[in-house]
Each structure stands twice: as C-alpha cells, then as structure tokens.
Amino acid sequence: MDVINSLYHGFATAITIQNLYLAFLGCLWGTVVGVLPGIGPVAGITLLIPATYGMDATGAIIMMAGIYYGAMYGGSTTSILMNIPGESASVITCLDGYQMTLKGRGGAALFIAAFGSWVGGTLSVCGLMLMAPLLAGFAMKFGPPEMFSIYLVAFILLSSLGTDFFKTMPMVLLGLLLATIGMDPLTGVLRFTHGAKHLYDGLGFVPIAMGAFGMGEILSSTQESTVGREVHKVKIREMLPTRAEMRASLGPITRGSGIGFFVGLLPGSAHIVSSFLSYLVEKRLADRPEEFGHGRIEGVAGPETANNAAAGSAMIPFLSLGIPTGPPAAVMMIALLIHGIRPGPLFITEQPDVFWGLVASMYIGNVILLILNLPLVGLFINLLRVPFRILFPIVLLICLVGTYTVNLDTFELIVLLCAGILGYIFRSCGLEIAALVLAIILGPGAEIAFRQSLMRSGGSFAIFFQSPIAMTLIAVSGSLLAWNMYRSFSKKPASG
C-alpha cells in the first residue's frame, strides 16, 4: 500500500505541464540521439546538462531518464531500416531487423521493437519501484566498512567492462588516481594541484564527461565512413505484425524483460550486454537457429526488449546505493550533484518527490515513446540525411559552451580538451573509457569510506571482516577477482 500511495504522489508530481513537457523533450531528444550514429545516449545526456541548470532536480532527472531510454528506442529504427546501428545496444538488431526489411516486413519489425521496448521498459520500472526502496532500506544499515566493500565490488565489476580484465583494471586505477586531485576531503591537504587554484576542487565531473564521452567520441567518429546508405521507407499500414509474428514475439519479449532487468543491475554497458545475451538465448531456444540472421522476428523482439529493460533497472543501484553502474547513470548523477542532490540510501526517504516523480515519469515516458516512434519513424529517418560533417562542429560547440557555463571558467575547457584527447587515445588503444570516468566519480566516496573504516577500528583491517555484510562483499570481490584472473590467464596468446 505504501508503494501505491507513493506512486500516486509520484504521478501527481510527474503529471504537471512542465514535467510532462520535459519527459516529452527527453524522449524526443533521446530518440534523435539514438537515431544519429556518432552521438550516443551518454553524449546526448551530457549535452543537455547545462539546460538543466534552471530546472528543479525532479524535472532534470525526468528529462535525462527520457533521453536514456529514448535512445534505446531510437537506435532500433536505423538498425532495422538501414542496417546502421544508431547506438551500440542496437547493433544486434541489425542482424535480423534489416533482413526483415529486405523481405518487406520492416514495418512489423519496427512495431515489435517498439512494443517489446515498451513492455521491457514498463516491467523494469515496476521492478525499480519495488526493489529500489528495499535496497535503500537495507543500505541504511551500511557503515563505512560496508560502503567500501560495495565500492570494491563495483570497481572489480567495472574492470570486467572491457574485453580483458587486465586492460580495463588500469583504467579504473587511473580514474581513482585522477579522483584524488584537489583538496583532501578529510584533512584539507592539497594533492597534485601544483599550486593551481583551479584544481583545488578537483578536475570536475562535467568537463571530464563532456571531454571523454562528447569530444572523444567525435574525434573517434571522424575516422569512420560517412557514406550515405539506402533508406527504406515504411508506410504506417505496413507496420502491423501478423498473428504468427506476434505469437512468436511473446516468448522473446518475456525472456528479454527478465534478462535485461537482471543484467541492468550489474555495472557496465548493461544495455549492450543484455541485448547480445538475449539474442544468444533466443537463438539457442529457437526450433531453427540457422534462420537467425536471415529475418527472424525473435532476433528483434528479444534484444530490443532487453536493452530497454536494462536501461530501467540500471537506475536501481544508482538511485538506492549512489553507485552509477554505467556511463548514462554516471552523467545523470553529475546532473543531480549539480542540483545538490546525492543519490544513495537516504535519497528515497529524503527526496521522495524526486524519486517517485521519476518512477511515474518513466511509466509515462514509455508510453510517449511508443506513440513517437511508430508514426514519426519517417521524420527520424530523415535526420540521417544531415551529414556528420555538419553535426560534429555543432556538437563540439555545445560541449564547450555547456562546460563553460558550469563555473564560467575557461580552465574547465582545458580539462575538457585534455579529457577529449585522452578519451580518443584510449579508445584508439581499445581501452574502456567508461571505466575511467566511473572510477573518477566513485573514487572520492571509496577513499572516504576506507579511511573512515580505519579511523573507527584504530588502524585495524579486521573491521572489514567483522561485519557479515562487508565480509560477504569482500568475499564476492575476491571471487570475482580470482575468476577474472583465471579467465585472463587461461586465454591463448594471439598468433602472429
């Protein structure tokens, strides 16, 4: 009943003219970002951070969440109609979605993708509203040793983001080191500032995110081919799937919802992992798996449902524990911090309007996206006619001016430029930039928890093993570390 009452108040918050407008704007911009290759949901959210300065926190997070799951919807449109994944989670949809278009069933694929996304997104929001308060309540019992143990698990999982644990772990460590720049929060000692006053407060999350995800992505994208491709047009009346296609989609949509929800709880690019995992599951369960890749509706229904479900459940650890598990949540956290709100165990009890307003708006947003994506598919496709050569200067300018508006300081632009260069170099070396940025965000909390634990125990590390929760989490960290080490060392060296 408590959940129902809270949700009722959440809808009262979300169904205001301003918040509905922001939800619509977020969904629309998210769909545009999802359609356009070269600009992912992270860059899309980052670009709008400056626009949130004049908003209240509820409106800001409603809009940003809309961008995130809107991008999941938008990415499927170009995957299906043009064989171009609008964003990474839609790569797998190209395999069967485009083949369906070639067979004249592109409309049905779009419908199923949108319908599955709606189901996955809605079920995942149900999970969010039930699990997040429980998890937050549980986390209220956490002291510094327990918090540090959670951070340890998060860092080890972050290190599993990339293809090789031992290539991604240094990115996490580098992020932790960069997070120590500035004034030590406990003693006030300046670290790594070299006398520069601008660095007393650290590097700043916004220029790092804008640089690494915005500028870094653009620098990498300038090397990709921008040759135009054929755009297949779809009429509204061709969008309805047949009964057989609907029946065939129900199982993948159900399984995709579950897969996406649970994968979304884990750190990493959950929306990408969930869509790949769902595809593999559907192929394994199919009566004729050899038909996958040649236009099976299950190959669209499952992955598209999973990536939207993952986008919703990724909010759970972010809102209830204050641990963003992926780049989009990290950028949303930055936006909330700018508004003076820190997600975590106290967030739901101290800011119920923001939390329940967000939950209600996610229900509304999923409906908005279902309405937007089907009739307006032609409009979104036309966006692809805008050459990337025109788009990227505009995006760069928005990154620069958006970063400048945070503190009205050109030093932040220098940080953005350096982060952009580093992001580009790391991408070129095949290293996971998201791990670095997430570690920068989580690092200060981890260090404080570690030092407070030692202060409590008088310098004894036994404090981490005296609490059942901390001990369990450290055991989980140890197991994950051992597993990743085993996987890494057991890989055969590449030949040649």
């Binding site: 031992f166 290539k167 080191l177 000692v189 620098l219 050109t410 430029l417 260069i421 260090e447 030092r451």
Partner: protein, 147 residues
C-alpha cells in the same frame, strides 16, 4: 610497438607521477590515514598493471605508424582549433569566437564551400549565443569588442 604497449606506457607515466608525488604527502598513521596512502596504493597498483600490460602477449597487433599518422589529420585539426577557441574565448568574446570556430571547422575540416560554412557558422553561432546568453541567462564572455 602495439596498442596495448602504448596504453601501458600511459599508465606507467601516470603511475610513476602519482607514486613520486604521493610519497611527498603526509601519510599519517594506520589509525588516522593521511592524504598520501590512498593515492600511493593506487599509483603502485597502476604501475604494476602497466608493467603487466606492457609485457602481455595477448591480443597484440603491431601498430602501422604510417597509417595511424595519416588517420590523425582530422582529429589533430579539431584539437588545434579547439585549443585556439579556448585561448581566444575571453579575448574575443563568445559570439565572435564561436562563429570563427564553427566556420574554420566547416571550411577547413569538413571541407564545405566558403559561403555554406559562413551561413551555418553565423546562424549556429548567433543561435547558440541567443540560447545560452538570453534564454538561459548565462553570462558568456564579451571580450575586448564587448559583444
């Protein structure tokens, strides 16, 4: 030289930098850790990771430096122009700097014709100035020319 080794060198540089400077920070005691221990531990782990990655044999593909250098022209142009934008922003003001920045990117990097670059640069420059300075009431730099 491989991509992994380039990455590992970057990690080693940061790790050694962190290690040297962390040793100069107050360490405190175990019961009251100072500002130094955490960055010191992270720097040591970073150096070890960098060394491990440098000597790793897995997934190594040698870098073709000629190809890599040829591919860097556009990113290099963008970085240089962005650096000039940052340097000129306070002196020339946002409106002029952003317009010149966009024009140079569109003309020099994207290789559009002069008139197309001018039209797009002026419209986006003025449009972005209006959005940020007027609608969002952000005090953007005006520069020496005061506009």
């Amino acid at each position: 030289m491989t991509k992994e080794r380039v990455g590992s060198i970057i990690f080693l540089v940061f790790g050694i930098y962190g290690l040297v400077l962390s040793l100069q920070l107050p360490m405190g005691s175990w019961s009251e850790p100072g500002a130094g221990p955490f960055p010191l531990m992270v720097s040591i782990l970073l150096c070890l990771s960098g060394v491990k990655m440098f000597f790793s044999e897995q997934g190594t593909v040698a870098i073709d430096w000629r190809t890599i250098c040829k591919q860097q022209q556009t990113p290099f142009q963008i970085v240089v122009l962005t650096a000039v934008f940052i340097a000129a922003l306070d002196r020339l003001g946002y409106l002029l700097t952003s317009t010149l920045y966009l024009f140079t990117l569109l003309f020099w990097v994207s290789r559009y014709k002069v008139w197309i670059s001018v039209v797009i640069a002026v419209s986006i420059g003025i449009g972005s100035w209006y959005v940020f300075a007027k609608l969002l009431a952000t005090p953007l730099p005006e520069g020496w020319l005061k506009f």
